[in-house]
Symmetry: D3
Subunit: 247 residues, 6 copies
């Protein structure tokens, strides 16, 4: 089996993308000309998680009985849904094009237990997992369309390729792209655009925590959202002040 | 910008609609000949809330680049999704026809913070918001189809009009209509039908708490649901008794 | 009204199916040639429940005003959605073909209260209930597509038959079949296949708890999932050891 | 095999329904309180046909391998899709609930050839046929969702019952109901409502041919559509005149 | 009733848009920054027609029984679907937002006969008409999603406004915009962009007929599609030559 | 650009598959264990054509502005939708995974003219073409979901790869597989299964023309469909007789 490795971006870059978050990443990329990097469909199944990491990918395709043998335990090492997990390193995000299928559980409890052991950051699946009651307890950050008792190749799908570009939730995800995901959903940040996105995000949205504080005090929307240039010194003072505080 | 205000119904009327609740309001309107006032699609995103209030409306339309300039912060005061919030008074319900779009976050954290400051009762959106992790903490009663990191006009939609009749979740909502929403979903009560609905609801369903108490004791379904005329005096005694108790 | 009773399978058989769970039941039936017994669509509305029981069924059909009189309280004893509940005995699962309709609440609070009184095991509905805030408090295991304020025959549906084979979530469910449901969803186990399924499930998956324990210790995936024949004696020792422990 | 026959309405009644046509039948039934008798989905596959006839029905259900044996030619006499055709008499309309499935060809060339031999009036299928190039040449009036090379039980469906009430295109069709179909689609006329519908249709729409003639001459829409009472004598004169002419 | 008239663009401008055709108009507008002006959904129901004309619009909304009285012939002059036709002048295109509904026939034979009398250019309806067999004979250029026997307000819709901006096939159409439609479908050309679009279309695609002639002779794709600058003089000679020929 | 060529099966094999036709191919493959090889979605846009040929494939993916430059005419030789046509040899079938998108015209008139020049057998596209009025005149056998004025990368898609396995109409098509298409739709015949399929098809269905002739004469369905073993000698006589006749 001939599976490509991914090029992983520097950990600091990934950490900065995570700090930006899905909403600001998506909006900033749009203002940079990438209209839609939102992986539409999968939603957070254990809310409150925020992750970022390079994508390792699994592509499911419509099942063909001449290409995929049903015997789940015969020569299991040929199963590609195992191999995508073998590729996982600490901090990686598994991204699966499961074709939106609601009757195929791409991974079950055992596979996700193994994934946890490999210290994957999380998984974004345009489809389902099975054994949800057990996977939930593993507390792995996971974005799904749903859950099902069916296994990955029980009905309509078969695993087809690992670490190729995939269409997940109507976004093309290239292996090694940085996926950032939180309660708003998952966003694909093309690795070559990450630095620019981070810089722009800080310029455009850095003042938002400050503005929110002002709005909660009942201050003027026009002055504070978006931040009016007259209020910029005020923000910088606040910022300097905040940096001195512990988080 | 020329935006109509709404006529707000008396607060007591609104309070009575709230007390009736979505399920009884919808069923009673159906028996009055309004077959379906249920705003189908948006579901409660912070369960346990019960609200009623007059509708202020926002109509989104398919985006046309010649009619909507992408620059989010250039002349922000022309943005209609701000203006619908400027229209909000304490107790109002914002109703948005977002065309069921799953890739547009009509409001984000900042806008909803402002909405909270204006003491709006809640929002019913046939689409999504963004910044969900933050909005959730604001604890505003809200009914949605989903959440997304994308902003309101990032992909397919643009705000088009405020306080016009809108189609939300396949119901025509007229500005000023009373929207009642709880864990069953949101229902539009035409303001001219509200009194009649309330009266009929009390006649038809007033005995339900009593009957439920009887059913839990193992009493006969035929006698107590719906309440048989033979059991009516029993109910009236219970009612008189209950009114003496504190809630 | 002429409604057939169901033949109930032995309680021990039902209990064994429940122990197998939805995921293993579905997968095992697939390996036995029943490709898909997963009732796709309804999801758990009060997670953490695991039930199994014989199906009593209700078939909804598109409403025809000449076949269904709107008067909810005139001659209520003709209403079939009451009669399906009259058929319920302790441990039964009500299965409703509600045609995936999102605007019809098949049962409300009163009916579900009555169902609880009859000690039904739970309900699987390819559609909605109403009065969700109240039903939730009853804590009945329930699998739904959604909730609505509308009543069962308010818009498009009418109850048509009780205890006939129904199509629920794209599976044909025969009255008396064993339905097992948990957080993965609901699965229909044809009663004549139940014994074979249980035996096969134990052979094929009995070692999974053991393997998971090994994987969590960082042991080899190839040795323990699926369980390699070399590791079988190890598993049997573990099993014997475990049986001595209290659960 | 125990299959009920249908009660066929008098041929003259059927002929009158046919003369009314789908559009006027549907509208008139709506004004009589049957909101929607339109079988939505199947469209005419050989335009220009107008048929009416009593419904013989076939119900397809989701396939279960334990209930349906794949062997197409083993004991073919058990196949229900043959038996629905055995029930056909001259002038009957076969109505199939095929669950909207686009991957199952309910009938093929051979079956439809046999149907033609039995002098069926036509078929309305909420799904597909196969062998379309050949069936087209048979010139049987047929309303379909589509065509497919797959046979009736190849993927997801199995025939389940003959001459039971079925849901076809979101309308409940009872065996023996009169189905009228033309280029607008197929409409189910409940047999007990047929006389009343015919009478009302003649009262409400009998003048339409006259009015159209007037409109084509450039006469006033207000006077002639709908027919103003002042113009009624004019219409009656036209009618008397027309009846004298050959068609 | 207070209905706005539309501003009609000059006839020569409309004629030039028609000559450009839907495909080149849509592509050219996209290159000008209007990503998608294609009215997606309605397809040509009498192929071979090519029309362009200013849009008069009708907006359908979800039916509310308190806002729309069922009596089809009581005070018919209040019916807005009549009024949109009263607004039609020779060459106009009626554009209807019918919400994609497949069970409402916006216009029937009588209305379309009247429309033909008013010399409308054609109709684009994001939904259906009824009386299709008769309308087809009128040979009016028409783009539809389907046909139905039901009338316009029989089930879910009611006419709500005339000559307001509408969302048709996921495009915002402003009254007076030029709609061009042919076998590829209908495209909305914003009137203020029409001149620029026409000029650009001639520059970018004027050579296509020439190139096609070359390709049919087996000439090089690289030289002739798109037209290489080396071949431009060749094209100009061909053009000059062609203009001398009669069409 | 590094594009793989396909291995073409022998012309006689392709011819035999064509003779079998889509319906018998699909049914026979199902009886061989390949449950569903029907490319569901694309329908014949110029009926009466029957083709078979090896698949050359084009995979469209969701558009990413950083991966696809809008400039249609800048460096056109990088455009993959041109390269799939460069791969076409006489008799090939172009198969496009266009993701079911209804707003992207994969090929236009110029490209299809070039395709005709290369003597391609036809095209199967899970999506649309543009310039339909012109392409129709080219009379190329083509199976589509629809037509649109938009160009291939105008809205949501970009060409991504040529001659890789693609998912088209929910079937995995491998480059070089034999695609057979007629008025029933398109079917993918895995090249390694073609011989077996052809042999089995002749055994199982060879008698159908004979049986149809018998049925048209009013003979017994039980004897002639499927062909009873008693009638086999009769069929063989007919066959011998027919082979002597000219077609």
């Amino acid at each position: 089996m001939d599976i490509a490795s991914i090029n992983r971006p520097p950990a600091e870059l990934v950490a900065k993308v995570r700090e930006v978050g899905a909403a600001t990443a998506s909006a900033t990329l749009a203002h940079m000309g990438l209209r839609n990097c939102f992986i539409s469909g999968p939603v957070s199944y254990n809310t409150g998680k925020v992750i970022a990491g390079p994508a390792v990918t699994l592509q499911m395709m419509p099942k063909r009985e001449d290409m995929f043998d049903e015997g789940e335990y015969a020569d299991v090492e040929t199963q590609l849904h195992r191999h995508v997990l073998y590729q996982v390193e600490a901090g990686d995000v598994v991204v699966v094009d499961a074709r939106g299928d609601m009757d195929s559980g791409i991974f079950g409890d055992m596979m996700m237990t193994y994934f946890k052991g490999r210290k994957g950051a999380g998984a974004v699946i345009d489809g389902c997992v099975r054994d949800w009651a057990k996977i939930k307890k593993l507390d792995i950050p996971i974005w799904l369309r749903g859950v099902t008792p069916n296994y990955h190749a029980q009905t309509n799908l078969m695993p087809h390729a690992v670490n190729v570009p995939v269409a997940c939730g109507n976004v093309t995800v290239v292996p090694g792209d940085i996926v950032v995901a939180d309660d708003d959903g998952a966003v694909c940040v093309p690795v070559a655009k990450a630095e620019e996105m981070i810089d722009k995000a800080h310029r455009d949205h850095g003042w938002e925590d400050f503005s929110k504080e002002m709005l909660l005090r009942g201050e003027s929307l026009k002055r504070y959202y978006p931040l009016h240039k007259d209020a910029w010194p005020e923000y910088e003072a606040w910022l300097a002040d905040n940096r001195r505080k512990p988080v």
